[in-house]
Symmetry: D2
Subunit: 427 residues, 4 copies
């Protein structure tokens, strides 16, 4: 455990004086990080932290994967081209070929690959634009507690009131519908379909429905396969495009490369980013059903669509997906972790804890106001990095690197349990 | 010169079959790039190209600057933390300190630094959001031929009709006014001020005015210092925020670090990206007048705000700005290049060429439809990378790396001259 | 019954050649009307019609009420001022005084009276504007199948897809929620409240909720008193303004002057028009909770706010409300009519008819596609004017004048029954 | 002149306590009007006023025209149908026939007639809807200082900032361009055309341009015939619909029935209301180029589209247009009045008065803040009703009834002159 005296030695003054007030995680984790490897981080004072956060899902393969690292160093050493806009490069060529071989073909998926700019919000904005352009319709349906990004288009399909206010203008052309299990009294898809078939519903026929199969920022809410299939059927019936935002839930986080694989659905557009590069460098793609690829050349562009370090690392990351082993490992670890969490909350029935999630995208929802936040603060004091999610920060979220070993997982879970106990004592 | 037979050997099939139709530059430069150094690129067949494009302004310091490269390799080798969201890291700390010392303090500028996500459109969206939030107003005034990005908010202040149509929905909350010298019959700022002071103008008092001091994508249109000063005065008089989008014109491109320095204006918000990282990796900051930094923690966020490779390279890039030498060199090269361009078009008065630009952000506008595009195609055949800009692609644009040497500049200009002559012959 | 040969003698050519294609009722009732009195109309050929339509609810007191008529003739004869903008006139003074004495005071209602222009859409637009202005919020919640008017603001809170498309632009700043009994699987107010209390719902806190207590155009859908009370409580809890659009359901149509009286609610804003003038001349008022009357002078205006013929007739119409007798009569006739309708559909169980409504705002919903329309066409052939409503025109709507006598009601109902029987035969 | 003691006897308390704060003209003219005939009004105390306001242009034929009055009384006495939605009636038939014979045919105009609801804002909204629907475009271009109405669509094309704020939401889908002579430094149509032909202007190709040929509320600004012709040419060149809002300037106010006749243009859509009924009762039509009449039946509707008293009076009003005499009379009176106004301001060069207008739509703009308002207040004290217009109320507006006789005009002008002199003295 880090003592208070050590903490105070960390000098955060440059951040406090020069960086914008918008900074947030550095407030929850008030230290200066320096090194990282696998599932561990170290700050400038040499304190070690176990990572149950994984860069909000951007580090599924852990920090500084040695194979990727070597590839990047070799490439840099050989003066490989680093920035190339959307020109053809060997690094991009390899990524495209490997992505097709390792990801698309084995899953019988036929998509065109768009590089929309290197972040999650870039891919979401590109998908929304294309869906509206192709259908000639304006409205996009999103779901309660959705999180899709911070630029104007993505923010319009994001549920969080606090984030929405940041727009400074009314957010338009969207309709928010209840997510799976949002409310016991509402059968969300019955209502949606009712709206669509009723010429008097006031809901204009949408261009697209956009969803996360597991809502990360929204509080680790899991949509059932049945619900996802019904959404897909509604889309087919009404000729609505289905966009799966797999930015956080994709790249193996829930146990399969795409989070929608278990549901057996086939989205029209898929958004990938975060862990796609495998190394934590900015990267995103939009996957497009071929007949929908109606972009004119250059109709959407961006300076950092050709980030070759990302192409390289992402290509290396695909090695994890050549066989089923990695997916099975994630699922095994997921079950194990889930079971540990169930045990933990079983010991504290008064906390009304609820375990949520799928694969290694997990969380405990606590009913006590501010409880989850305190648990995470206690965990940090003990060397574990975890964050909250949900509209009121009511969920302690676990996103350990998928490559975490037995020891790391156990150690992290032990700290979490201790943190819950300590937080409860302090009530 | 690359022969046609060589060209056909390049296999672009994977890009054609798998990458979205939205790809564009790879159509103008149909080869596969592999390596790059300084102002040169090489494709897989070993053909060498001189770079007069610089990644659309993202490579002002050339490709693979050796000092930055060494820093990155060392950092990677030592398992420095690569991805850190908005947590404090040593790499970020150094960037903040150096940026303050080398850039802000010597220019007497007092700004808070926001990391809004790593691309140009992220910084523009963050500036628009903050301006609207702080003022409580909706409208933002932009200018004809402006280019600010492809996500919904940035696209709303972008002039290009083709790009705007990509949104699929009407773009709102913005007013487009004539840029400096847009039309000989319109005194653009007189009209703007008339609108503002007239309670019956139908133009709502705006939150902000956003502008580029030199419009890159819009056709290398240069705003005079006098015009910029007047815009600033209008902003002050009406309590409107002034946002300078220095994504393309900044980082030395026009001869000073910020493009607005010669005009002596002091924007309330500044958007930087493209060459900010120095190495072509995604990076952006939004500079905020301290009293406007009214963000709540986390009100705007994003996964790739903490891209430490970018912090490192960006910190190294600041070495160019420790003295005035680099700026003077850019200005000297700019004058020299401009003079060469003037000579070139002087030899072909029938082409009605017009040299435009400032510093090393230059272009020749040709009146003949498609002429500039053909010149760039000829240049590529001769080993020079150049692109067009302007609403009809009527401008052959020159953005050589600022670090280009005498030989490279001369060689590139010679190819350009030859390309113009050849294109004219083929008319 | 009118024979076909007679019908063909009616010359509608001037309407067909000169009037816009937008005309509609003249297609359902293809004759030229000339005179009207009480519950009867006559066309140019002297054919008599019983009116079960009452000008879509604008003629609750029947055609050409003799007292109002005399007042108007006397006023005109005496050169009373007819058009006065929003200047003070004796006619307006009398209306204000009487409206206060006869309507507001006995019901313990304290409202400021706004004259927003003489039509339903004028009053709705004024209420929406004021609600947004006073609260500083943008969103207004309306309900499925709502009908509030055809101008842009009112159309945005109208559910009908066909009407909405007429706008030619996306309709914004509104959220459509399920009306009472919209769907058996959805507890509409539970969902609404869930949305409001959830900071992640994606539904921005609204300025107002607008509703009709009985939806006329939407298909004679009746909200229960319990539901209305709950809506009011939600409004109070969240500081949302409650707007009751009583344009069609008000002025006694449902059995009390205001349709919301039985529910015991107290809307913040009330919209009245249609039968308010009593004589079928254009007139509307917006009733405003006094502390919300934050208009600046002239902030909303309009040429026909001072239609003195309407003030006069409306003042006379208030005589019906001096005692409870008229309300009791409406309720008695309503019950009687409802019972007749129940009997009618009881005879044809295969038609799946459903009686709907409250007071003398009644309808029969038929499940057969186009059945209700055919019934109304048969009724017209037999001398009864009735129209359909509902998103698919599935409801045969009964809006007889409230002053209709026993004979008229019986005669109309007999024709309706005959029309149902005939329509069924022709299936 | 009314003495102060008399004034105080007028009891306005019911208006002050019960009517909304939005009331405005009753504040400028604080008395209770009772009777009116021709160009005269009388209040309850018998004070006589000369009307130079004509109900903001709704009483071009004066108050209580005896022929119209008799027609209305006879119709009412005979129980003619008063309210008929959009059903065919004899009154409507006569109006359509006569409008075609007297107005459309002699002017070689071929329009379909739409009854969009009885007010100016109804006709404007219908024209905007149809233009957007037919073209499939969103943007409508309006002009600085335009006034088109108070409902959301009309307000979006209205220039006045104070009125716009009343919307409570941002007004969208419109672009405001400089009106003719808006600013000496701006050639407004050159700029407009520049915007349209420039693919980078940021102005989306509009559905329509809407304009008033003389802006009434905007300050009696007159567009030249040359300018109107150029606007029409621009519309033809770019396939943009031209909407002339002739609500205030039409029906003879400027010297011809349609205000656009002298310019020789042929709008695609024309909005008429105000004086159309001739008697001050609510009435409006939208004239539609036949091939644009693409409404589906009922796609736009409204309760008071069939206001038969308006049809009757409007038909009678057409008698004024059977020969050229009335138009010539208006023009003669207009010239005479203008000349008187020129003389008046000639006597007070220090007031910087500027005479504006066309026909009998005239005004004097005064540069002194609040001067025009004081002049009108003085005039009222002397028995003359006049109002101000312009964004700062800087114009004393003259809209005498077109039927005013020599004596009335002279008397009114004498009071105006006296009022100017008195106001100046009090400075």
């Amino acid at each position: 455990m880090i003592t208070t005296s050590e903490m105070t030695e960390t000098d955060l003054s440059i951040f406090e004086s020069l960086e914008s007030e918008v900074r947030s995680y550095c407030r929850s984790f008030p230290t200066v990080f320096e090194k990282a490897k696998g599932y561990k981080l170290w700050d400038t004072q040499g304190t070690e932290y176990i990572d149950f956060f994984s860069g909000a899902g951007a580090l599924n393969y852990g920090h500084n994967d040695p194979v990727m690292k070597k590839t990047l160093i070799d490439y840099l050493s050989g003066d490989g081209i680093v920035h190339s806009l959307d020109m053809a490069t060997t690094a991009k060529e390899q990524f495209l070929k490997r992505f097709k071989e390792v990801i698309l073909e084995p899953r019988n998926l036929d998509y065109k690959v768009m590089f929309p700019g290197p972040t999650g919000t870039n891919t979401v904005e590109s998908a929304l634009k294309l869906a509206r352009k192709v259908t000639g319709r304006n409205t996009v349906i999103s779901f309660t507690r959705a999180f899709h990004g911070m630029t104007l288009g993505s923010l319009s399909v994001t549920g969080n009131a606090f984030k929405r206010k940041g727009a400074g203008i009314p957010l338009s052309h969207t309709v928010s519908m209840p997510y799976d299990n949002y409310d016991d009294n509402v059968d969300s898809l019955t209502l949606l379909e009712r709206y669509l078939e009723d010429e008097g519903s006031g809901i204009d026929l949408p261009a697209a429905i956009i969803l996360e199969t597991v809502q990360g920022e929204g509080g680790i809410n899991v949509a059932s396969s049945e619900w996802l299939k019904q959404v897909e059927q509604i889309c087919r019936r009404w000729d609505i495009l289905l966009i799966v935002d797999d930015v956080q839930a994709g790249c193996g986080r829930t146990g399969t490369f795409f989070s929608f694989e278990p549901a057996g659905i086939r989205p029209d557009l898929v958004c990938l980013s975060k862990s796609l590069s495998g190394f934590g460098v900015p990267f995103a793609v939009t996957l497009i059903r071929p007949d929908l690829d109606q972009w004119a050349p250059g109709e959407h562009n961006g300076t950092f669509r050709g980030h070759n370090l990302a192409f390289l690392a992402a290509t290396e990351a695909l090695r994890f997906w050549e066989t089923d082993t990695f997916a099975q490992e994630i699922q095994r670890k997921g079950k194990k972790t889930r079971s540990s969490l169930e045990q933990m909350i079983g010991k504290h029935p008064d906390l009304n804890g609820e375990v949520r999630g799928r694969g290694l995208m997990l969380g405990i929802a606590f009913s006590g106001k501010g409880f989850a936040e305190k648990v995470c603060a206690e965990a940090f004091q003990r060397g574990l990095i975890m964050e909250t999610s949900g509209p009121d920060g009511e969920v302690a979220k676990l996103l350990p690197p998928l490559i975490i070993d037995h020891e790391g997982l156990e150690k992290g879970l032990a700290i979490l349990e201790e943190s819950i106990t300590e937080t409860k004592k302090a009530l």
